[in-house]
């Protein structure tokens, strides 16, 4: 599936830099910007209004995929400790990852890598950057 995505960050409507709202090709989603783990909002219609071409995919955290989507892990964002913890449990760059479940109220996320399910906290998962292959 292909998405048009506009990123609204953790700022409410009317706040923040409009540049933050749209992620261009290869641009980095501002992660550290979500200290309170507020839900991120992706609005396809807005993307079209802003003139982002349809069929354009981009990198996004595993948490913003739809349940059941398969993607490739591009990178892990965070300190050495976090990256190491993810890698030794099986979540590594270039691995194919599937989002099995996303629990409500900012609950944990269940992913599947190498035929093994792993439960990780939402904030950790937000730092796993993936790309859905076209």
């Amino acid at each position: 599936m292909v998405y048009n995505i506009v990123y609204l960050g953790n700022y409410k409507w009317g706040y923040g830099n409009p540049a933050d709202l749209i992620s261009g090709p290869g641009s980095r989603i501002p992660f550290g910007r979500n200290p309170r783990s507020e839900p991120m909002i992706f609005i396809p219609t807005t993307a079209r209004l802003l003139g982002i071409p349809k069929g354009y995919t981009m990198e996004q955290p595993i948490t913003s995929l739809e349940t059941g989507t398969t993607a490739v892990i591009l990178r892990l964002e965070g300190g050495h400790w976090f990256q190491n913890k993810m890698r030794v449990i099986g979540i590594r760059e270039q691995k194919i990852i599937r989002l099995v479940a996303k629990h409500p109220f900012n609950g944990p996320v269940v992913v599947e890598v190498d035929d093994r399910e792993i439960t990780i906290g939402r904030r950790m998962a937000e730092h796993i950057i993936t790309k859905v292959p076209e």
């Binding site: 449990i89 479940a101 629990h103 409500p104 109220f105 900012n106 439960t119």
Partner: protein
């Protein structure tokens, strides 16, 4: 004597290999974090005796919780390592293997779950793997014992890999990538029914109703098995025993020995709950009141543990447990605590921070009723109806939730997020389940009976000396004035420190109203843990945190008791 240490990722079957090698029994389950401490055993190789150590699982040699620290400590002491590896997940497991090899200790690799790897379409070239790692590789199926013989036979061949030099993390992953491409072939696997069930039980929409159904079914089964055991086995046994006890009573005649062994006769008859003799209450309480439920509970728990359901439950409860300053894994210590608080508090070691462990231990001690506490609640309130029993458990649940919320605010420190591997569902093996249940029952009998006897002895002594009267007088303002209970209930609270279930016989003769009994039993469960729990908390938390936990418990008991009096007695 060589020290041989079993090392490997969590949930690869180290404990099963350990049992196979030493013949010693240790608890093994299907979830990461079953082993939180090391166990030692002996094994003979030729004429030489070796010490075998089962270490907790760890993903790397950089520990992230207390259990992994234990693993690292064991690694330091080892003369030889048996690296147990999950063949279905070789790539990830090799990270630890390489780290171990870099430290130049003699290693032999046990490629465990070999059968499962074959079934899932994974083939591993053993010769090539041996060549790559420069150590012997033995495929094993620890559960059935396959390959264990070869493993023992080849322990002598264990050696350190000379060509593997210390490297950094990314080089290690590159090396692992090379090894995997060289030795492993995976045929694509289609999703099976098992995968489907696995996903249904972990997704929120289907997972929560399933969890509720499973837990209710489990509770129903425990009470059904427990009651069946009582009415068909234990009660008939005691019917046979009564004439013997009466015979002993008559032979002894009135006097101190009769008081001690048989206790008070009620209407000329032995009352197993209230008589308080070593040969009456001292035997009846553990065998006829607690043991049947212990058997039932541990049987069901073993099935739960071996199926692999617990980590899924941990995922579902994660959001709620974060409010209590823990994460989802906290449900596992709580679950174990329902049998006995001691293993529950020990299991909290798999939580990462001190704050999490403190909250888990305190909450378990205060509001998770173990089987002895349950037996007490049912024993006292059973005759009055299920409604009163429900009141006690509802109060305990409220205490759990509110204490969790409060402790989360009060305690300083981090509550990191969950990061838990979900094992595949496996069919529990009947023999393994029965063996595990037996081990735990054995442990209960060993621990509980001395304390019960001690408790009965102490009660008799204290009554004779007049200590009971004196203590009752001191605590009268709190017990009578604040909780609205007769002052004699103080002794029951005191004896509850030794064994909670003994308090049944002490509360019943006081002629309290059902509501007063509800207050008394609730207070007995929350005011203070029993001596065994106290000891393990002391060991796990240290003296300062232990004092904090105790103060919190006393405070909670005081507040809850007063509130219950207001609500239930209306005065």
């Amino acid at each position: 004597m060589k020290k041989i240490v079993l090392m490997g990722n969590p949930n690869v079957g180290k404990s099963v290999v350990f049992s196979r090698l030493t013949g010693a029994n240790v608890i093994a389950s299907n979830y990461p974090g079953t082993t939180v401490d090391f166990s030692k055993g002996k094994m003979c190789l030729g004429k030489e005796g070796h010490e075998i150590i089962d270490a907790p699982g760890t993903y790397s040699l950089e520990p992230s919780n207390k259990a992994e620290e234990v693993a690292l400590e064991m690694f330091g002491q080892a003369d030889l390592i048996i690296n147990v590896v999950d063949a279905t997940n070789l790539e990830r497991n090799l990270y630890l293997t390489l780290q171990i090899l870099e430290r130049k200790k003699p290693v032999i690799l046990a490629l465990n779950m070999w059968d499962e790897a074959r079934h899932t379409g994974i083939s591993i070239d053993l010769k090539k793997l041996e060549h790559e790692l420069q150590i012997p590789v033995v495929p094993t199926v620890a559960l059935s014992g396959e390959g264990i013989h070869d493993l023992i036979g080849r322990i002598d061949e264990a050696r350190s890999a000379e060509k593997i030099e210390p490297m950094n993390e990314s080089d290690r992953w590159i090396k692992i990538g090379k090894i995997i491409r060289n030795v492993q072939q995976v045929t694509h696997r289609h999703h099976t029914l098992r995968d489907w069930i696995s996903e249904a039980s972990i997704r929120p929409l289907t997972g929560f109703p399933l969890a509720l159904a499973v837990i209710f079914a489990a509770l129903w089964l425990v009470s059904f098995i427990g009651e069946t055991l009582i009415s068909y086995i234990f009660d008939p046994l005691f019917t046979l025993y009564t004439p013997i006890a009466i015979g002993i009573s008559i032979r002894l005649g009135p006097g101190f020995l009769q008081e001690l062994l048989i206790g008070k006769l009620i209407d000329g008859q032995i009352d197993y709950i209230q008589s308080m003799g070593l040969l009456t209450t001292g035997i009846y309480v553990p065998f006829a009141m607690v043991l049947p439920y212990i058997i039932a509970f541990y049987l069901i728990l073993a099935v739960f543990e071996d199926s692999g359901y617990l980590p899924r439950l941990a995922t579902l409860t994660d959001t709620i447990f974060h409010r209590f300053g823990m994460h989802g894994f906290g449900i596992i210590p709580v679950f174990l605590g329902l049998g006995c608080n001691v293993p529950g508090i020990l299991a909290a070691r798999s939580l990462e921070t001190k704050k999490q462990r403190f909250i888990a231990a305190t909450l378990i001690a205060i509001s998770v009723p173990c089987m002895a506490k349950n037996a007490m609640v049912f024993g006292i309130l059973g005759p009055y109806g299920i409604g009163y029993i429900f009141l006690v458990f509802a109060t305990l649940f409220l205490v759990f939730v509110s204490s969790g919320l409060i402790l989360n605010r009060l305690m300083k420190g981090d509550s990191p997020e969950i990061c838990l591997e979900i094992p595949p569902y496996r069919k529990p093996d009947t023999v393994t389940v029965l063996k595990k249940t037996w081990m735990r029952i054995h442990w209960f009998l060993q621990e509980a009976i001395p304390f019960l006897f001690l408790g009965v002895l102490l009660i008799n002594l204290l009554y004779t000396v007049g200590f009971v009267e004196w203590l009752g007088g001191i605590f009268a303002p709190v017990i009578q004035g604040w909780f609205g209970l007769p002052k004699e209930a103080t002794t029951a609270l005191l004896i509850g420190f030794l064994r909670k279930d003994l308090a049944v016989g002490m509360l019943l003769p006081l002629g309290m109203s059902p509501m007063q009994l509800v207050i008394a039993t609730t207070l007995l469960t929350i005011y203070f843990p029993c001596v065994g729990t106290f000891a393990v908390m002391f060991r796990e938390l240290g003296i300062r945190d232990m004092i904090k936990a105790t103060a919190f418990m006393a405070g909670t008991a005081f507040v809850v008791g007063g509130m219950m009096r207001l609500v239930l007695l209306g005065i």
